[in-house]
């Protein structure tokens, strides 16, 4: 008798588990329905329906309907704003967004390589897209208007595998109160060499190039400024290391730390600094006079069995005048060269950029990081 009961219990447990899994699936779908109003069962399905020819206001055709999954590293708030514009134009395309920091979203994309979930990548570091391209994960696609994108801001292939939208670049974020306590003024810090001033010893925070894209573009920027393949860049970094209090794992964190006074100078990127200014924190944002290292926020189509026409529509829109106009508010350096300025900055930010060789960076990335770790990582002993 007891065996029968136990056996029944086992069956029950298995049935319960199966039922639960099914229930969960439905649950997730239901949520999708609620938020979008469209059926969410096949959120990755890419069957584009033919547009309604009778409707004259909304764009019609193969690519104007459907559901796409977009992976992005853009900020949450930017995504919301940009998507609103997209959906006004293409109300019949349902866009599911997965937004994470650059490192996480890239790792997720690479891990999903054998069964890609994303239809396209939007606003994610070009250095990440190069890593995806190396793995053969990108589908070449020339979005409408790609000719308007400057050559250095898109993939060099005949049919580009990725297309840049805007640029982010090294900037120093200086806490005006804290630097005053050190006997300096924010205006004393203009170039990389100024960061070596003895007063700043232990007051500079910088992102670790091994974990942050901003760290990488800053380090490779310095190496290129001082001369590719020479030792001068490393010698500078050796000296800078004396003033660094910590190497952190995120590019925007030094800006936030400077904003809250946790450090006097944070080496970060332009937008992160401008955000601190907008938040009313006592900071000055300085673009180094010798030039900033930079990387692109870029888009790419993911190679998969069924490529959605709606994904192409999205990529076309994502470099359109309308989209570029929206990006400009946050990142004034646009990939089409028609950018604006940072609020309160007189200079054209494009002049600020160094002559960056993205391919050189990609090819030497491993060696550079190894050398960087050899010099500085091992020394990160407690004080």
């Amino acid at each position: 008798m007891k065996k029968v009961v136990f056996f029944a219990l086992t069956i029950l447990a298995i049935a319960l588990l199966a039922g639960f899994l099914a229930a969960c699936k439905n649950g997730a779908t239901a949520t999708g329905n609620k938020s979008s109003g469209t059926a969410g069962e096949n959120k990755n399905s890419s069957t584009p329906a033919t547009g309604n020819k009778g409707n004259s206001t909304a764009p019609t055709g193969e690519g104007s309907k459907g559901e796409i999954t977009v992976y992005t590293a853009l900020e949450d708030e930017q995504v919301e704003e940009y998507l609103k514009a997209f959906n006004t134009r293409y109300p019949d395309i349902k866009v599911s967004i997965v937004r994470e920091s650059t490192g996480v979203i890239t790792a997720k994309l690479l891990a999903e390589k054998n069964n890609p979930q994303a239809d396209l990548v939007w606003g994610t570091a070009a250095s990440s897209l190069l890593a995806l391209d190396e793995q053969g994960m990108l589908e070449p696609y020339a979005p409408a208007g790609v000719d308007g994108i400057l050559a250095k801001f898109k993939s060099g292939k005949a049919v580009p595998t990725w297309t840049g939208i805007d640029v982010w670049e090294t900037a120093f974020v200086i806490n005006t109160v804290e630097i005053g306590k050190l006997g300096l003024k924010a205006s004393d810090i203009k170039s990389y060499d100024d960061l070596l001033r003895p007063e700043l010893k232990g007051h500079v925070v910088m992102p670790n190039p091994a974990s942050s894209g901003t760290g990488l573009l800053t380090v490779t920027g310095i190496l290129q400024l001082e001369g590719k393949g020479t030792d001068a860049g490393w010698q500078y970094l050796d000296k800078l290391h004396q003033n660094i209090s910590q190497y952190v794992h995120s590019g925007s964190k030094p800006a936030k730390m400077a904003g809250s006074g946790e450090c006097a100078v944070g080496i970060s990127f332009g937008y992160a600094g401008i955000q601190r200014l907008r938040a009313g924190e006592p900071v000055a944002v300085v673009f180094p006079s010798n030039g900033s290292g930079w990387d692109l926020e870029a888009n790419a189509l993911i190679k998969k069995n069924k490529i959605s026409a709606a994904a192409k529509t999205f990529l076309d829109w994502a470099i359109s005048e309308e989209a570029m106009g929206l990006y400009k508010e946050n990142y004034p350096i646009l990939a089409n060269g028609k950018g604006g300025r940072y609020d309160g900055f007189a200079n054209d930010p494009v002049d600020q950029l160094i002559d960056n060789d993205l391919l050189w960076v990609a090819n030497n990335r491993d060696n550079i990081l190894e050398e960087w770790a050899r010099r500085f990582d091992g020394k990160s002993v407690p004080r």
């Binding site: 588990l17 899994l21 900020e75 952190v248 990160s380």
Partner: protein, 560 residues
Amino acid sequence: MKNRVRQWCSGFRWGQFLVLAFCLLALSTVLVLPLFALFSKAFLNKADMFVGIDNYIKYFKTPALSTSVLNTIDIAFWSTLFSVVLGFLYAFALTRTHIKGKAVFKYMAMIPIFTPTVIHALGLVYMFGNQGILTRAGLFPFELYGRLGIIISEVIFTFPQAFLLFFVALEFSDGRLYEAADSMGASPLRKLFRITLPEMKYTLINAVFVCFTLAFTDFGAPKVIGGSFSVLATDIYKQVAGQFNFNMGAVVGTLLLIPAVMSFIVDRLVSSRNASAVNARSTKLVVGKSVPRDILCFSFCMLVTLFLLFMVAMLFVGGLTEGYPYNLSLTLNNFLFNQSTGGIDSFFNSLKMALASAGFGTAFVFIYAYMMEKASGFNGLRKYGRLLSVLPLALPGMVIGISFIFFFNSPTNPLNFIYGTLAILVVSNILHYFSVPFFTANGCLKKLDKEFEGIAESMGVPRLKTFLWVSVPLSLPAIMEIFMYFFVNAMVTVSAVVFLYSADFKIAAIAITHMEEAGSFGQAAAMSLLILLINVVVRVLYEAGMAIFRHRANRKESTV
């Protein structure tokens, strides 16, 4: 013929075997197979060619990387020492004294697991950072960022875990031993060292390994507050999310398993000599009177509580003001979350996920622990099962997340359909938080006399009946504790689910990380307050339920 089949059947315990097999199969599927998918990469190069142990040689040849190994051991050692001592004292104060406000103190101890870890780090920065309140007052002349910051964070993070393990164990004790000691005139100290501590041996070892392993593998604190101090978990992050090198990431991941495997070996050595403490004849412990003891314990609890309260105080300030620190007028606007981070929906999604994780997790873990402890025979399978049960503790969320992608997203996997659904989040939570509940259940079941099963069997009572009518009721406090553990952790977890959540199902803890990243501190604090609140509410409901249960149990006892 029928008789012979019957006999053979009763010789081989089919029921137990099937349940045991189901447990092991389920855990193997979500633990061993995904891990294999990831860790096999440790022996491949980037082009997926087999390279033997080349990756390991490379790792240990890089001085910067092998420094991390020593750093990690260093911080794990100190964190464990402090957590275990503090956790034991706190649990002792709450179970073996007559101090007032025990219920409140118990909630307070759990503040750290009621809020996402990013909030602890923010709290520490507000207290001890370069602009921190205590630093500015000159009370903290040390550098927070780095080793010290990590150790403080890990102590805060692991203290509740140690406390809970000790709490359950101390509450659950045989009063007769103390009565006997009293009648022989033993001093309180003598009782502590001769009865309480030996009785706690198993829990103590578990607590040490839980704290050590958690501190050994935690990524949150080193990332936010660790400065340049590199540990194994930040190495994984650098390899996977910084350099997209899964092979090296897998190498580091396998190294993180070492403490868990060691704990398995120790567990084998200890549990073979562990006699059950509560048996069919046990009585409830009556706590004696001692004023100095109570005063000492009360001040200690007060100190810990104030520290933890201080840490979350800024949640209230941040969540309920317009724009801390420049505009301190009160507002509820922070609770109108931006749609972009999932809005208030993310909170309800989290709630749904936490309830499912807690419900299914508790049932699974308790049955699993029961089979490990009480099944008769099947020693090989049970040994395997025990090994499996300690491994999840050693897995950083990132390893679980990535290995789940590799395994469940594979188009050839029949379980592929759960990818991108709530189910995979629930499964990952149950796996991620499996070990501590397992220890809780195991420690509790260990103390139940095997006699119960023996008597029941000899009386022909089916095992299921013994399980439902003896083991479950006697273990109810532990079961509820397990439920709570799964629930609160699922509410605040980020590291694994961040790789697995889908566009349609955003969750609150991830939203908080995004808000913090975007600098919307007010909203992050407001959302954390909601999580804190729901965790407290669930806890209150649980305590109320337990009170009713105890009341009934007492009434039954008195009528018998």
